[in-house]
Amino acid sequence: MTALERVERALERLGPDPWNAFLHVEAEGARTRARRAPEGPLHGVVVSVKDNLAVRGMPMTCASRHLQGYVAPYTATVVERLEAAGAIVLGKTNLDEFACGSSGESSAFGPTLNPRDPSRVAGGSSSGAGASVAAGVVDLAVGSDTGGSVRAPGSFCGVAALKPSPGLVSRYGLSDLAMSLEAPAPMARTVGGLTRLMQVMAGPDPRDSLTAAASPFVPHQGELSLQGLRIGVPEAFFEGVEEATARPVRAALARLEAKGATLVGVELPSLRFALSAYYLLNYAEFASAMQRFDGTRYGYRGEGKGLEEAQAESRAVFGPEVKRRILLGTYVTSRDRREAWYGKALAAKQAVASDFQRVFEQVDVLAGPTMPFRAFRLGERVADPLAMYASDVLTVSANLAGVPAGTVPLRVEGLPVGFQVMGPRGSDARLLALMGHVEALSGVAP
């Protein structure tokens, strides 16, 4: 298939976008690029990019009314690398506004529907990215993961996703939610697709100071032996998890065991505070990140009577979850509160990281379900922020601990279920190799 044919097929599959997966489709641009896509490992491959990543000349709304009409003047490093490798960006995908959400329902431009069941959420915040892969529009998508934002849609939509180790993938061009916890992250139909994306995207970038120390990503060479692989399974990972999710995950674990892996019961006491620590840090960093949006240099400018009024009006168009997080972040970092809230959250983060480090001396990987439940119905949780936050209980710890985590869609009847694995920091390649095994043994048939 030529590049142009691939683009046409993607556009055809997309059609009128009944899932609301895309906020912007660059049809003509994609066709033009297809005609002169550079040779490279992703030559002619059509990809989607989450709309919180900058692509010069394309809109970048972060799914917010505040940035409606904003056109990015520069391109995110990961997208630059993808395009240099020959990939063609079909368009920008929908997300929770400024990536604040776990279902996709917080987009100012309507939620993304789950291609497997349009009455249900696609998972967030990379909802459009997940849907674009699940709907077969693209095979590869770039999202971002702060506390589960590619793994949730991966699990809910039935696609593979990886949250990389910190510092491995440049964040230059990714609009900030929680800078110390997040990175651009690949989503794909298969685990092999994740590896293809990582090979191109990962690697040090002088434009992101946090990538300087990371070792380069090299795909795992040869077979990963399951013989004697120690898989830690904390019981906490199954607490409060619905049966329809727990069963196929335990079955997948059993198949790994049958192939020679050892399942080890482990304890991670710090997990008790992981969700709280995650959200408090998220709020604190988000409030800081959102300071820049005041309508001065870009974005919606208010018509207030004076400077302060205009700025406040400009920021009034944020959605409720964004406002909640900004106010909470302001609260936990304010002078009198900082020690008790932000300080404690940092300490809890430290505790989680230490706990994971200790556990990875006993086992090679941790495994369990990606999400506590399968895709819920639209509207079911969105009115109750705490209920929404609870979706993240199994995913946030990897971001806090600074370790890689991936989700593999399991072969199940009905709604998709994701199987999550986590490994020590920097073990992304090996983790992908293990995910490949899970995919072969228990995954969705290609």
């Binding site: 900058a54 964040r171 990714l174 800081s288 300071q291 820049r292 240099r297 870009y298 304010s334 900082r338």
Partner: protein, 453 residues
């Protein structure tokens, strides 16, 4: 109780690029507003800071050394949050101090730290230009140890000296300061954003006088923030805010810990700090403070001085460099470094002067030819000395011949007739066809007559 004055000085560091991005830091050379900008320094969504500017780091460490500070093992950049149009992201990246507990001219230096400049907000026009946003600043915070305006002047002069020696300041941009003044009976008043040393001195003068007068009239002086009006040279009240700002300082998650290890310090710090070196110039070479200060203002000139003073009389070298050389350089707007004049060249020039093989006037001419046409001083001195030698030889020969040809005049001279000398000088001049200075010839004839005895 005394007058207490403290300063928070912001020095624009002399770098090519900004603190966290590679845009040019020479913002006064920008062709138009918002031309030397990028995604980072205009706060575009998703932009991230790059590694910290190594030159800004070097200069900041050298200033800390020059002020005798204790150096910290490392620094962490923080975010200082506030909403203002000149701030690209409505927070400023500002580091924890890298130097503490220094002193200068009897004033304790509390701390030094790096921070980025915001953009330029033109309040009258209501416009913002981000060309300078992200430019590297060094903030120097003093304790309120300045006693009076004169003390402040002396302190600032010393600071200027250090910055010149280190070539640390983007001269065209200069520096700016917040000035804190309290007089006995009154509270502390802050005058914000005073531009340039001269204005700082004026602001201090004005504020001390204003507060003292108010107190003497029985008017209270409470804590407040004021603005300095450059045009009128006075301070005016700024709107006082009811709430004290909460900047919600947090460690910048994009910028990890910046270590300042011994290896970095040993390759960055000067082998000799400026004040110590100046003291050594005074004691080892017997220079006055003012002379030493002048020589040390430009490090390469000071290095040249030391090299020359090891073989030539220091006083003479000092005087020549300070007065003659600097005079010519200054007239041409050149630094010593930019002139490219080498120690070898200066050695030739100064040796020639010392040996009198060239005159001061010739030396000046050679210096000008060097600066204006690039003619090597070594060559120039050699040529002049040769010519002078040739000339001297010619004069000597002419004198010998003239004395031999005019025995009667010689007799007359010996007999005490003064006019005979003039006659003989005339005879030599005639032989030389006038191509010699009369006083040189006269001296040569006298010497020749003396030798005949």
């Amino acid at each position: 109780m005394t007058v207490r004055i403290g300063l928070e000085i912001h020095v624009y560091l002399k770098t090519h690029s900004k603190l966290f991005c590679a845009c040019s830091a020479r913002f006064l050379e920008a062709p138009a507003p918002n031309t030397q900008v990028c995604a980072l320094c205009t706060g575009q969504p998703g932009a991230k800071p790059m590694g910290v500017n190594a030159e800004a780091l070097r200069l900041g460490l050298q200033v800390a050394q020059a002020l005798g500070c204790t150096l910290m093992p490392g620094v962490r950049f923080q975010r200082k949050h506030y909403f203002y149009p000149d701030s690209p992201a409505n927070y400023q990246r500002t580091a924890t101090p890298h130097g503490t507990n220094g002193s200068l001219e009897g004033v304790r230096i509390r701390e030094l730290h790096w921070e980025e400049d915001p953009g330029a907000y033109d309040l009258r026009e209501g416009t913002v230009d981000y060309n300078r946003a992200g430019a590297p600043l060094l903030e120097i915070v003093t304790e309120p140890d300045l006693r009076d305006p004169a003390h402040a002047r002396a302190f600032l002069a010393e600071l200027r000296f250090l910055l010149d020696h280190l070539d640390a300041n983007y001269e065209a941009a200069g520096l700016k300061a917040d000035v804190n003044v309290s007089v006995p009976g009154g509270e502390r008043v802050e005058v914000k954003n005073v531009n340039g040393l001269r204005n700082v001195e004026t602001a201090i003068d004005h504020e001390v006088a204003r507060q003292t007068e108010a107190i003497s009239r029985g008017e209270p002086v409470g804590r407040e923030t004021r603005h300095f009006d450059e045009v009128r040279g006075v301070t005016t009240r700024l709107r006082t805010k009811e709430e004290e700002a909460d900047y919600r300082y947090m460690e910048d998650p994009d910028l990890p810990w910046l270590p300042l290890p011994p290896a970095l310090l040993s390759e960055t710090l000067l082998p000799e700090a400026p004040l110590a070196r100046r003291t050594r110039f005074e004691t080892a070479f017997g220079l006055a403070r003012a002379e030493a200060t002048t020589l040390l203002r430009e490090r390469s000139l000071a290095d040249a001085f030391e090299a020359l003073a090891s073989t030539l009389p220091p006083a003479a070298v000092a005087e020549f460099l300070q007065r003659d050389l600097r005079g010519e350089l200054h007239a041409r707007g050149l630094t010593f470094t930019a002139s490219g004049i080498s120690v070898a060249e200066l050695t030739a020039l100064l040796s020639g002067l010392g040996a009198r093989s060239i005159t001061p006037q010739v030396a000046t001419r050679l210096l000008r030819e060097r600066l204006d046409f690039g003619r090597s001083l070594v060559e120039g001195v050699r040529a002049e000395a040769a010519e002078k030698g040739t000339a001297e030889q010619a004069v000597g020969e002419a004198v010998v011949a003239a004395l031999a040809e005019n025995p009667k005049a010689v007799e007359d001279y010996r007999a005490g007739k003064a006019t005979a000398l003039n006659f003989l000088v005339g005879a030599v001049m005639k032989r030389l066809k006038g191509r010699a200075a009369p006083d040189v010839v006269r001296a040569a004839v006298e010497a020749g007559l003396g030798n005949l005895r």
